[in-house]
């Protein structure tokens, strides 16, 4: 599929740069460190921070703001920690989400739901780790999925 650059919104990158958190997006020189560091990219090859930045820089406004991918970031900041250009991708994610809401690509209730999921994930993790923590010196052997199911039940 060929992307015709003349048809894209080349102002998109400036809009993102003007959004709090998105200031450094244009500094990216596509070294790939962010995607290599990303724990989400590790499990979902379609989630690619470097590619998301490129899409913004080329002007693929609609594709980015209405995409699923900008909601998969877990804000772990691994990308931001070592980016050689201080692109601050995690903050860019936040900026893109703000714009997505503002430009009505997503409903505010959806954003709320994602926030609730984040909180639940933390609680889930807390529960699961608490369960295995007593056997930390001996090591825990068991099925992760059963552990998760039990933790969900308790919450």
């Amino acid at each position: 599929m060929t992307v015709v650059l003349n048809e894209l919104d080349t102002n998109f990158k400036y809009d993102v740069a003007n959004e709090p958190g998105g200031e450094n997006i244009k500094l990216c020189f596509a070294c790939g460190l962010c995607t290599a560091s990303c724990p989400v990219a590790d499990i979902d090859q379609k989630f690619n921070p470097r590619r998301i930045i490129r899409m913004v820089l080329l002007g693929m406004r609609k594709e980015v703001l209405s995409s699923d991918t900008i909601w998969f970031c877990i804000q772990c900041y691994s990308c931001q920690a070592h980016c050689p250009q201080n692109v601050d991708f995690a903050d860019i994610m936040k900026a893109l989400r703000s714009i997505a809401v503002r430009e009505e690509h997503v409903a505010p209730s959806f954003v709320e739901k994602v926030k609730e999921i984040d909180v639940l994930c933390q609680k889930l993790r807390h529960e699961m780790v608490s369960t295995v923590i007593d056997s930390r010196s001996k090591g825990w052997e068991g099925e992760l999925s059963k552990l998760a199911v039990d933790a969900v039940k308790r919450l």
Partner: protein, 1014 residues
């Protein structure tokens, strides 16, 4: 400029920093009639170059090419080495400076120490060695490395038990000369100089703060400089490639580029320029240091091998199996307890990939040392935002303080050839200020009387060199030495690790005296680089220089027979035997000195030619500037903008005015060189100026003939007026004929006519030029969309800053590969360009209003003819070939001829200027000296045997032998100064009436017979 009477100026210079930059500047100045104080803060000179194993792109042994210069610095009568010292202050004005230097107490008496090394053996206290980057140890009393100059130790008072607790004093006890002086105190001395050159180098980035790379956490993660010490034959593992955790040879090594460079988050946003090429060098060289099959991968962002021949070096590495992965590594983790490392990066098809290897090398960047920043403050020198010495775009070796010059990495990250060029240039500039004071403070070298060996039987001394592992790693040196001992007339044999080092020179001299030797044979490397060194050494010991023979058992033996060590050893024996056979028959010869015509000829009136001519004139030498067109200025006439916004046109016009108004420069326009004859000091050139033939006499030649913009045929150039080149773009922008506002979509394509099969070299300036022009357009029209399609974005050094600025402004950079070149589709209506964007993972299509092609630089079309006229060589790509890529970047192999600018290789304007200063600086040396010495390897005619047939004169390629009339009879006569010693005349003479000095028939016959029967 200082208006005082020239007689008042002090004919001495202070050079601060004893690395290759300081050393080269000191040598140039010492040869030009000045006295030099060379101050170095560590105990010896040598700098980082002494720590390297090999240098790129030729993979020359670093110490091998540096050592002769170290020795020369150590023994030059016009150079005073002040080591283990620091400059405190410098007061005054150009021509009259007073410098205060703090000499730290060595605790060793300089006049008594012989460098025997016993104190270091006996000292019981050791600590990690700074020279070995902590991988090896040194004692409390130490010399930093074996080949150090001065070869005299210092006591580290922070470690020495005497200074800490008042005990030990083993050094005092064992020193056979009583040279230890524990009461020595720091001294301040004052020296008076006319100019100062600062060449204080850099520190490497310390990656300990990069937790994700595991340096200092995992023993098998090392920095590039540590890796050099591991590779080095004189390093902690004697050149055996092993990893630190278990001393086992690694099988897989990964290099991580841009560690501490191009990194805004660490505060080092600039590019360190040399790391791409040095990593490739390390990968190529590492293979030679291990019997194990090595798998090597270099992880990089942009491959910045833009220097002369470096792209070929890159291609060579690929052919030799080095893998290149374009990805910045996120993390290095340990693989269990094996000591192995796992490198995590974004791999092909954007998959997260891990790579397990045995060793990781971090290619660390360069930054100014803390001390250098402090020194700059003390000396009142302006620094740039990164802490490097600030210099103006058009004056690349001048600091902000008049009379203070700079060379090397202290001015900005660069490699050795550029450092040497800046050193040559800085020395030239200092010479301009102090020319009236030339030869006022110099000392003449006093030699002992030459021994008369007439009537003596040959007593031959043989020195066989290991050359680190270059020879010793293949040839059994001890066996060769043993063999030499069996030959008649050989009375002394020894083998050395580095025969060219200072301590060995002393040994050779002592041995000559002790054993009454009257012929010396050195079996080592090439006489081309090292013969003068050994000849000087034996002369210092009282022997005529020509009682010396050299067997090349490196270039002609160990290097080419690496895989056949036994046969190589036999060959080495034969070569040594041959040299000994010749040595028995050689005799002393006299050198001839010939006066020099103190004028220069500069070929080419572009910025390089004009800068060189002005510099020669500034030093007081008349010169002729030959320009083939009717205007001065060359390619710079088409350049209107620079990276830092300097006004090029004004600078160019001012330069042209200076040249035309200078009384010492004679400009010839519409001129073409027809013929050049002669030799260094005495050239004669016939020049056709319009229709008139003129003959010019001069002592030196500077080739600055430039290059041209590649005339593109790719990408449908010429098929539409919307396809233009960068130079055309600049001209239109400057003339106002291109309205930046009218063009919304602009596409630039890099590497047009560069890095191709026909022209596999980088044109060096196009990436920065494209970025610069893109920014100019963006400023005119902030809503423009500019796309730059590139292969590697080569904004090296501080140019990285404009790459960042351009991205910030919204310029989009899309990488393309040779396999997926941009496709230009042109119908009568529009131009469309399609290219695969690997980061996006899709093809993109742009319909630009304007396409700008970044065309490369091709050699001047007249280069071939000029090379023939001057009898010099071109390289594979058609650019002029220098004498030595690293250490003689502006000299031709032919003495007296120099080069600068695009004629040498593609480069941006400021580098052409630097190189022109260097060429003029070097060219001025023989002009300043006033004479040249001619080697006595010239033809001799036996007039009694000569029948005057003239065959020799017709065959000589250098017009160095001619027929003259002697009482009505024709006889051949040698013109010694033109003679290159090629021997064609002697070989062609039917009467065998001609012999070659130092290569007489009987000498050569003896050598050949020995070789043939070996």
């Amino acid at each position: 400029m200082d208006k005082q009477n020239g007689n008042d100026r002090i004919g001495a210079i202070l050079v601060v920093g004893g690395g290759i930059g300081g050393i080269q500047a000191a040598l140039d100045l010492a040869e030009s009639g000045y006295y030099v104080y060379l101050v170095e803060k560590s105990p010896s000179i040598g700098g980082v170059m002494a720590q390297l194993d090999k240098t790129f792109p030729t993979c020359d042994c670093s110490i091998c090419i540096l050592s002769p210069k170290l020795v020369e610095c150590g023994r030059h009568p016009n150079i005073k080495l002040i080591t283990y010292s620091e400059v405190l202050t410098v007061e005054g004005q150009p021509g009259h400076f007073r410098a205060v230097i703090l000499k730290h107490a060595r605790s060793v008496n300089e006049s008594l120490c012989t460098g025997c090394g016993i104190c270091q053996e006996k000292c019981p206290w050791s600590t990690p060695s700074e020279f070995e980057q902590g991988l090896g140890k040194r004692k409390a009393i130490y010399v930093p490395y074996a080949q150090a100059i001065p070869n005299m130790p210092v006591i580290d008072r922070k470690l020495c038990a005497y200074f800490l607790k008042g005990t030990c004093r083993a050094c005092v006890k064992f020193c056979p000369r009583g040279a230890i002086d524990l009461d020595q105190v720091d001294q301040t001395i004052e020296v008076n100089v006319g100019a100062v050159i600062i060449s204080i180098g850099f520190d490497e980035f310390d990656p300990a703060s990069l937790f994700n790379y595991g340096y200092r956490k995992y023993p098998n993660v090392v920095t590039s400089i540590e890796f050099e010490r591991i590779l080095s034959a004189s390093g902690p593992f004697s050149g055996e490639l092993v990893r630190l955790s278990d001393r086992k040879p690694p099988k897989r090594i990964a290099w991580l580029q841009c560690v501490g460079s191009r990194d805004e988050s660490l505060g080092y946003p600039y590019c360190s320029s040399a790391c791409c090429t040095y990593a490739i060098k390390q990968a190529i060289v590492a293979k030679e240091h291990t019997p194990v099959e090595l798998e090597e991968t270099i992880f990089f962002m942009d491959m910045r091998t833009q220097g002369k021949d470096f792209d070929r070096f890159y291609e060579r590495a690929k052919r030799e199996g080095v893998a290149f992965v374009r990805a910045k590594v996120y993390e290095v983790q340990e693989a269990g307890s094996t000591g192995n490392l796992i490198v995590k990066y974004l791999g092909e098809n954007d998959k997260l990939t891990t790579y397990e290897c045995d060793m990781v090398v971090l290619s660390v960047g360069f930054h100014p040392s803390r001390e250098s920043i402090v020194l700059a403050k003390k000396l009142g020198i302006q620094l740039n935002p990164y802490g490097f010495c600030y210099t103006d775009m058009f004056s690349p070796v001048e600091t902000s303080r008049p009379g203070f010059f700079v060379a090397g990495v202290y001015q900005g990250p660069k490699d050795i050839p550029e450092t040497v060029m800046q050193a040559n240039g800085a020395a030239g500039r200092a010479s301009v200020i102090l020319a009236p004071a030339r030869n006022t403070l110099t000392k003449k070298k006093k030699y002992s009387m030459e021994k008369d060996i007439q009537g003596e039987k040959p007593r031959i001394g043989v020195f066989v060199c290991h050359c680190g592992i270059n020879i010793g790693g293949v040839v059994n040196v001890a066996e060769v030495a043993e063999y030499a001992r069996t030959l008649s007339d050989v009375v002394y044999v020894e083998d050395n690790l580095y025969t060219c080092s200072q301590d060995t020179q002393e040994k050779i001299k002592a041995t000559i005296r002790e054993h009454n030797l009257n012929r010396i044979v050195v079996a080592s490397c090439s006489p081309r680089t090292h013969e003068p060194l050994f000849q000087e050494t034996i002369r210092e010991a009282g022997l005529n220089r020509y009682l010396f023979e050299m067997a090349n058992i490196r270039d002609q033996c160990s290097w080419v027979h690496r895989d056949r060590p036994e046969e190589a050893t036999q060959k080495a024996k034969a070569l040594v035997g041959g040299s000994i056979a010749k040595a028995r028959l050689i005799s002393p010869l006299r050198e001839i000195t010939i006066p020099v015509v103190p004028k220069g000829l500069v070929i080419g009136g572009g910025i390089a030619g004009m800068t060189a001519a002005l510099e020669l004139a500034n030093q007081g030498f008349e010169c002729f500037l030959i320009e083939k067109t009717d205007k001065l200025g060359g390619n710079v006439r088409r350049v209107h903008y620079t990276l830092d916004g300097s006004d090029v046109s004004t600078f160019l016009n001012e330069t042209i005015a200076k040249v035309e108004q200078n009384e010492l420069i004679h400009v010839y326009k519409n001129a073409a060189i027809q013929e050049v004859s002669g030799y260094v000091g005495n050239f004669k050139s016939r020049v056709l100026v319009k229709d008139e033939d003129i003959v010019l006499e001069h002592g030196v030649i500077i080739v600055a003939t430039g290059g041209n913009e590649y005339h593109a045929s790719e990408y449908l150039y010429g098929k539409s007026d919307r396809l233009i080149t960068q130079l055309e773009l600049e001209e239109k922008l400057a003339a106002g004929t291109l309205n930046g506002k009218k063009f919304k979509n602009i596409l630039m394509i890099q590497c047009v006519g560069s890095r191709t099969e026909e022209r596999p070299y980088c044109s060096k300036l196009c990436c920065a030029q494209a970025v610069k022009n893109a920014m100019i357009i963006m400023e005119m029209n902030p809503s423009a969309n500019i796309y730059i399609l590139y292969k590697d974005l080569r904004t090296y050094g501080f140019k990285e800053e404009i790459y960042q600025k351009a991205r910030k402004m919204g310029v989009i950079f899309i990488r393309y590969t040779d396999e997926n070149k941009p496709e230009v589709i042109h119908d009568n209506v529009s131009i469309k360009v399609k290219v695969l964007d690997e980061v996006l993972g899709e093809d993109v299509l742009i319909e630009p209003d304007l396409v700008v092609l970044s065309c490369g630089i091709v050699p001047n079309e007249d280069s071939k003819a000029l090379a023939k006229t001057l009898r010099v060589t071109l390289n594979e790509d058609g650019f002029f070939l220098e004498a030595h890529v690293k250490l003689r970047p502006v000299d031709f192999a032919t003495d007296g001829i120099f080069m600068a600018g695009l004629a040498h290789s593609p480069k941006p304007m400021e580098e052409s200027i630097a190189q022109a200063l260097a060429a003029a600086g070097r060219a001025a040396i023989p002009l300043a000296k006033g004479f040249v010495s001619v080697e006595p390897i010239v033809s001799h005619v036996d007039e009694a045997a000569c029948i005057g047939c003239g065959l020799c004169a017709s065959i000589c390629p250098f017009a160095a032998i001619r027929l003259v009339s002697r009482d009505g009879v024709h006889k051949a006569e040698t013109i010694a100064a033109s003679c290159k010693g090629c021997g064609l005349c002697a070989a062609s003479c039917p009467q065998l009436a001609i012999t070659m000095g130092h290569f007489r028939s009987e000498e050569l016959t003896a050598q050949i017979e020995t070789l043939a029967t070996a």
